[in-house]
Amino acid sequence: MASYQDYLLHLADNALILGQRNAEWCGHGPILEEDLALANNALDLIGQARMLYQYVAALRKDGKTTEDLLVYFRDVPDFKNYTLVELPHSTAMLPTASGDRDYGVTMTRNFLYSALMVQVWQALEHSSDAQLAAIAAKSRKEAQYHLRHAHDWVLRLGNGTEESHRRMQAAFDYLMPFTQEFWTDSAMETAAAKSGAGVDVRAFKAEWEATAADTLQAATLKLPSSDGFVTTGKHGVHSEHLGFVLAEMQSLARAHPQAAW
């Protein structure tokens, strides 16, 4: 059953890390409305993650695992999120300053991720695990709204100025290869799908690709190749960026373990 908990952690870690990344825009949004939008988006994602972590903690029945322990006291190799969600909001493959955030990258990633998760959560509503099905039913509605929001921005920026168009194309060119990880195999996903509790994400590939192709076309952007190196975040082998995300997210809880407020 450890493998099934890994699967739940994979779903939770994706939501948590993307939530943490999107929350970085809080107070720094390009306009007030989008600042609020990203804070709300992050709130939804972290809420989804919390339900899953609470469930894993309940399944462990060891009397000591809590959602906080899973979030604040695991290290990089323990996290099972896609590499896609941990990347900084920038196309530069360099250490980045906060000022380098590019909203086009943020919207592109939210689009690529939520287009997948709408399908994943929808399928998980029929999970043989009633608790996961219940979490999926809530998360699906939120993912739909996130997709709508990101889709709208892909169109706006793709069809916008020369500069916004150029940056959206750069964002898709940069991020698309990371989506290959969605369709790769992992023991936790295979076992979960086989048991009826999980789903085989590869079943959604054709529809996901069609959504991406349609949206890019409507945004006058070119569908980039997704060839190249295949990332392995869900196996716990991450990019150099996740450590920095965790450092910021975990430092307070680690400096004051057991603190309550």
Partner: protein
């Protein structure tokens, strides 16, 4: 998952009917608790109470005694903890021994808001959600309904202005002051307003 005793919580249809949730087989004690909890309002929108919002799902006899069942709205809604505490405090004040149980399934929908909640929201300045949030279950509607009518993609939901009633409104932002709302502007009276998103 808590075990489900009441017919309401155990039923499987995805869309539950509107209106008060008291069941015919409820005891007088259950009715008294429903009555008592009428005073517990939504911390973010104090004009409506938890029953009217569809958040308060059931009062039932559990294995450990009386249980009051609530369901979360948005996954990350920060008001949920407050609602749970408010329900517990109201029960404690009245000397009722009951525990508050949070239940995820079936997932809360804005379709569960009562007609009086919708009227109260509107007079408070928040346009209530369009019906049939569940119709979007296949995911296709997300792409189909675009935010800005001017964007020329799909057909936007018609959202009336709660101030002047005009349908000539436009979405300013998908997200508003809380997770459950979007920000709109009326092009007739020019007032901005909150729209409670169909969920």
């Amino acid at each position: 998952m808590p075990t489900q005793h009441s017919s309401r919580a155990g039923a499987s249809p995805p869309v539950l009917p509107d209106g008060p949730l008291a069941q015919s087989q409820d005891t007088q004690e259950h009715h008294a608790i429903w009555e008592l909890l009428e005073s517990v309002t939504d911390p973010e929108i104090p004009v409506v109470n938890l029953r009217e919002m569809g958040i308060l799902r059931a009062v039932r006899q559990g294995a450990q005694g009386l249980e009051v069942v609530i369901t979360p709205t948005y996954s990350g809604c920060p008001a949920m903890d407050q609602m749970e505490a408010d329900v517990a405090a109201a029960l404690a004040r009245a000397g009722v021994a009951a525990t508050v149980v949070t239940q995820l399934a079936p997932a809360w929908s804005t379709d569960w808001m009562t007609p009086e909640a919708r009227d109260k929201l509107r007079s408070y300045g928040i346009e209530p959600p369009a019906k049939s949030a569940c119709a979007a279950a296949d995911g296709s509607k997300v792409i189909a309904f675009a935010a800005r009518k001017s964007a020329g993609v799909g057909v936007a939901d018609v959202v009336a202005c709660p101030q002047c009633g005009s349908d000539n409104t436009t979405e300013i932002s998908h997200f508003g002051s809380t997770a459950c709302k979007a920000l709109y502007r009326c092009l007739h009276c020019m007032e901005p307003f909150d729209y409670f998103k169909p969920y």
